[in-house]
Symmetry: C2
């Protein structure tokens, strides 16, 4: 993995499956199903020489985090395909026995081949189907390419910028997740490897119709993407009536984080501020949410999509059809259980039309 790619340079074209200069797992780790834990050997000389990949179930990956104490989802590991440490995080790819290939960043599942459709399709189409003719789209994070794949289904789009901080994520995805990294093949895509916060600050005011923030959790490299100055930059980079969709955690687990995000967004976004959510089985609690906001300008009614996807409009022919998203599930995503509604929908988010 070259240091240049991780330090903020611009790589404008991308090809699938480059040779990765990262080390391969040891033979005994590739089996995955033995009696001991599957461990990841670090590349630097930190005090912790081995970060246990699964400290709980031998031969399984267990997702344990202070973000969801007292519970763990585990997947049976067939084979470890990749492990490395970038400048930002630990990266593991394994072949699971029933969820396809799995991408893990700092011990947290980001993508499984079996259920990634739910997350990628919803985070992309909830904002893009809510405004007519989106043209310029920015993706922050999302280095695996899955969101790009979805954005590029929209034929009105002429420019797709992506700013991912961790070049190793991009290369790993191109090697192991071609169905996600296919998004990079679209000629409208320009890849910027660097810090999304700094990138946004440099964007001329009013540039984008839509910004999609596909971040990991607010512990680790994505922390700033949940803070107020970042949302202020997003707002400035959007045109009037432009929209943002950010990953916004789980109503079952992170109500206090969501409350903070909602409060920040209400201060900053003078159009509409909405919370939507979807099922993703391999995310903690089985759901993930999104903040959907618009800037002052032409009003945006996120709950009633105005811009259906033309499945023939894609610029590349290698994408599979939509698996998850449709107009009904778009609207349904904004309806919340009462316990969450009470906190989130104090004012703006009535589902009156139902």
């Amino acid at each position: 993995m070259s240091g240049e790619e991780e330090s903020g340079g611009v790589v404008s074209s991308a090809k699938l499956a480059p040779d990765l200069s990262v080390k391969r797992p040891r033979e005994e780790e590739e089996n995955g199903g033995g009696g001991g834990s599957v461990c990841v050997e670090m590349e630097d000389n930190n005090k912790e020489e081995l970060a246990c990949f699964s400290s709980l179930i031998p031969g399984w990956f267990s997702e344990i985090s202070p973000m969801w104490p007292g519970e763990a989802h585990s997947l049976k590991v067939e084979k470890i395909l990749f492990q490395g440490k970038s400048n930002y995080q630990n990266i593991v790819v394994f072949q699971s026995s029933t969820y396809g290939k799995v991408l893990v960043l700092d011990g947290v599942i980001q993508v499984t081949e079996r259920d990634e459709c739910a997350y990628q399709e919803m985070i992309a189409h909830l904002p893009l189907c809510s405004i007519p003719n989106p043209k310029k789209v920015l993706v922050i994070g999302g280095g695996d390419g899955g969101v790009l794949r979805e954005v590029s289904r929209h034929s009105s789009v002429i420019q797709i910028d992506i700013c991912e901080i961790d070049g190793m994520v991009i290369d790993v995805s191109k090697q192991y997740f071609p169905d996600l990294a296919v998004g990079y093949l679209d000629p409208r895509v320009t890849l910027h490897v660097g810090d999304g916060v700094a990138f946004l600050r440099a964007v001329p005011e009013g540039t984008y119709d839509a910004i999609i923030v596909d971040s990991s959790d607010p512990i680790g490299p994505a922390q700033e993407l949940f803070e107020k100055p970042f949302f202020e930059s997003v707002s400035k980079a959007l045109r009037p009536g432009g929209v943002v969709c950010t990953q916004a955690e789980s109503i079952w687990l992170h109500m206090h984080i969501i409350e903070d995000i909602v409060a920040n967004c209400r201060e900053i976004f003078k159009g509409s501020v909405n919370y939507a959510w979807t099922t993703v089985p391999t995310y903690p609690s089985g759901v993930i949410g999104f903040m959907l906001c618009s800037t002052e300008g032409p009003p945006v009614d996120f709950k009633h999509p105005v811009n259906p996807i033309d499945e023939n409009g894609s610029h590349t022919d290698v994408k599979a059809p939509l698996k998850f998203y449709n107009a009904e599930i778009h609207s349904a995503a904004f309806c919340l259980p009462s316990f969450a509604k009470k906190v989130i929908e104090a004012r703006q988010m009535n589902c009156n039309a139902w």
Copy 2:
């Protein structure tokens, strides 16, 4: 646990927290967090003397089943509160560190205090809010009492019958889950301990306005509740335009089971046949579905509830307010991801109104 209660007798009144004649866990098992597996000692002399409660993670409960191969959800155990073997299944109650008390039947989580609201409220109110003035309601299974608690929110209801096969589940719930078993306090409730299939066969034709089938998975004592003869009995026991709601597994995991259920229901129920779903974090894949069908007669449009809940109408004052259900989430529950819609909604279940 008395054998009479399990063999099909009728117990018409119920009080909370009876003395249970079941044995308490051994001291060393109560700690739950030691170095070894937490095991359940069987009460009979089967070949397997110990059924491991968690064979994989010491101090944690792991839910492993051929129904969801290759994955496991685990909860940290603070203390085992109860373990027993009824005539039908192994029953465990433990205090988890972050999900409250947990009821486990044959190794599968049925209820956690933290997320039970989603399941109980949806399985009860999806059918009962879809018809005007339900009067007679039958619950099959649901021995924990949570569905009764929800049914009894409906002031129009004059008769609530419940037929649960396993008396030990009822008594365990009364002892450890008073917020569920509170449902038994309603004077409209009549408890029948026995086989739901046999019970239904003996019900005079056209008796009930609504039948709710709160079953465990189709492996074990609930198997018959997923088969065609059972649905035929349900249909006969309902009045014209009466409704049934049955637990119907996960679209992420059990599409083939769901397909069979849908096919059976389409043959048998001449009104409408619909699939709805909801989030329940501690159920496999984080979601659970419901089949909602009506018999020939006054048409039922499940997607547009006609019978809101009068939260002041309850006959008992000890129930907490609704946490999950509302009219918007009722309608949203019928909108499915495209991959599931394709299979399930071939004909009847368009979300046209959205």
